[in-house]
Amino acid sequence: MTDLTATSVQRADAVPVRARFPVHIAVFLAPALAIYTLFSIYPLIDTIRLSLYAGDETGARSFVGFQNFQTLLGDPNWSGHFWNALRNNLIFFAIHMVVQNGIGLGLAMLLSLPRLAGGSVYRTLIFLPTMLSVVIIGFIWQLILNPLWGIAPSLLKAVGLGSLFGPWLGQESTALLTVSLISVWQFVGIPMMLIYAALLNIPDDLLDAATVDGAGPFSVFWFVRLPLILPTLGVVSILTFVANFNAFDLIYAIKGALAGPNFSTDILGTFFYRTFFGFQLQVGSPTMGAAVATAMLIIILIGVLIYLFGVQRRLQRHTF
């Protein structure tokens, strides 16, 4: 009798344990997991698989191992373009980091000034280009900078600096810088907004305390505000990095897939496009394109890992 009771108690105990399997977690995870698997993870893995194949002229594919990567890095006809694209991409990223995020930080500081009139108007105006289509941005800036009918040459002439104007988008030495700055102009609103939000989160007491302790505006910025928004700056940097190494549209809209002159604006995105889809008489190669895409993935992965382990873990977060 006692025995029986004991077992039944035990059983009664065991059932809730099994029922405690967290079904709701699986249910909540399922939609995201399904969508990401279908539209992100599967294509990613399939791209990597495709990069290990090569197609012949009938379109039949065969497994070739790492041959595509050997071609990409070993054949000077490919590696020249690849390293050139990677170098340009790094320059493109560096310009964004320094100019876009620098100006973004500056603008956010200005916007958070307590006695600023019309702050929301500026905020909206500066953020506006981010929402415009890249095609429109490319078109507008080409018109502005057009040496024949653009307003840039006439504006410069009007202030007596006409001799400074050059066909910036057409010169090997200036094309990449010009395209980068156009992109900076478009996207400067994003770091500005993120940093502005972080600045607003800092309680006034901290700033007041610092001021009472005798810190000037510069010290307040350097020793109080900057450390507190560092996590946001980290996020901004990694967003910039990923966006820049996936960039393609603006350069395609302005310079076309050939990214001239002499490939001086060629970045990994345009290089991938030419390889995958082909260009004019050059027939596209999906397998070689997949190899380029995989190389891009590895580069981005390395960058993100460096950030995660080198930067993110050392950042201190403060909650107020």
């Binding site: 379109g59 006809n77 490919w78 002159p261």
Partner: protein
């Protein structure tokens, strides 16, 4: 009461649904029975109007039971978009074919079918078919439509004002350019290098045929008997390098539409052209313009023109309307189509053996050179554009660089030859 009501409503809904489905089925059946619809894939978005208002209605007069839809992508996106659609199985029934390897590649992958058995193919010469045939010339996979001719278009009013006559030799050409530059009111040469292809197509291929003697040089290049480092080719680059001072301010950032506008606004005197520019100029320019052939070295020299087989049309192997598609292709081979095409789109010259009268005087002048000069096609298209680096892309790059002054003519020639020799056997020696 409520229950009754809802039951009635349900019944009504059921009846409605039944009627709707029957109607839909009937509609679908009628649709399938009445007409086959053919969709044309093309990169000629500029010509959509002519296709929709002239060519397709003319076809439908003869074949009212076949519906035709013209669907165009921008030229630079066509190849990529088409290949994606072919891979996905959603491409149209009829595919506009670019010349040589781009289309040959589609044929080899089984996306295009042979048109050897389509009525009307006998209207075309072997040369006309060469751009859309296998290397052995046995199978043709696209019905040739038209070729384009290169030359120079000039603004007659500016020439009259400055008392200039269209040049025949290189010396005269430079004399004319110098005079326009000295006058200072107009840009002598409307051309830009930002898009790169103009430098190669309207520059290198346009004037080059006179240097390498058309087909003779083109074939010698394929056989490996001539190289890009030979004087004939270096001289073309040297000539291109001399054009820079005559081009507009900031030509390095000047794109193709800018160049067209510069000319049609009457601000430039000479425009290195493809004949496809003629219909656009006809629409936009409010002054008289005319054309002259690429200048030769000395008066009396034999002249050559780039008469490039440019556009054809083939059948998607997966098309469900293959018979209708063949009917359409036969019609494309007919004199009726040639006549409409030549006169609605002056500047595209039919390739069929039928005699077609081109009414536009400037376009007629272009096609008239076929009688006095020898025709050749662009030397980078057949066979030589098969490897990596791609010869056509290389030519765009170096021609633009030579005109930008970023590269010496000899360096340009060497770069192109080295690229070709890196994969093409006959040039490896």
């Amino acid at each position: 009461m409520t229950k009754l009501h809802s039951e009635a409503a349900l019944r009504r809904a059921g009846r409605l649904l039944a009627t709707a489905s029957v109607a839909a089925a009937a509609f679908a059946f009628a649709n399938a029975a009445s007409a086959q619809t053919l969709t044309i894939e093309s990169w000629r978005n500029d010509d959509a109007d002519v296709w929709n208002t002239k060519i397709i209605p003319a076809f439908n007069k003869k074949h009212p039971d076949i519906k035709v839809q013209f669907k165009a992508d921008p030229p630079t996106e066509y190849n990529a978009a088409l290949n994606a659609r072919l891979a996905g199985g959603t491409a149209g029934d009829l595919i506009t074919c670019r010349p040589f390897d781009t289309s040959l590649d589609m044929f080899k992958k089984g996306n295009l079918v042979s048109v050897n058995d389509v009525k009307g193919i006998e209207n075309f010469s072997d040369v006309a078919k060469s751009a859309w045939s296998t290397d052995d010339g046995k199978t043709t996979f696209c019905m040739p439509m038209a070729s384009v001719i290169h030359g120079f278009v000039y603004n007659k009013e500016i020439f009259d004002e400055l008392k200039l006559t269209p040049p025949k030799t290189l010396a005269e050409f430079h004399a004319v350019l110098d005079k326009i530059k000295a006058d200072g009111k107009y840009t002598p040469l409307a051309m830009g290098t930002a898009d790169q292809w103009e430098a190669a197509t309207m520059g290198f291929q346009n004037i080059g045929v006179n240097y390498w003697k058309g087909e003779e040089g083109r074939k010698a290049l394929i056989d490996g008997k001539q190289k890009f480092t030979d004087p004939a080719y270096v001289d073309v680059f040297k000539e291109l390098a001399t054009w820079a001072p005559y081009m507009g301010d900031g030509y390095k950032a000047q794109k193709y539409p800018d160049t067209q506008n510069l000319f049609t606004l009457g601000r430039a005197a000479i425009y290195p052209a493809g004949s496809w520019d003629v219909p656009i100029f006809r629409k936009q320019a409010d002054f008289e313009f005319d054309a002259f052939a690429p200048p030769v070295a000395k008066a009396g020299d034999k002249c050559y023109i780039s008469d490039h087989t440019d556009i054809a049309i083939g059948i998607n192997a997966k098309s469900k309307n293959a018979d209708a598609a063949k009917t359409f292709l036969s019609w494309v081979a007919s004199p009726e189509f040639a006549d409409i095409y030549a006169n609605e789109l002056p500047g595209f010259f039919p390739l069929s053996k039928d005699k077609v009268t081109v009414k536009d005087p400037v376009a007629a002048k272009f096609v008239g050179w076929r009688g006095t000069c020898e025709s050749s096609i662009r030397n980078s298209y057949q066979i030589l554009a098969r490897g990596t680096p791609n010869l056509e892309t290389e030519l765009w790059n170096v021609s633009a660089q030579v005109m930008n002054g970023a590269m010496k003519p000899e360096e340009a020639a060497k770069k192109v030859e080295d690229g070709l020799a890196s994969w093409y056997e006959p040039h490896k020696k």
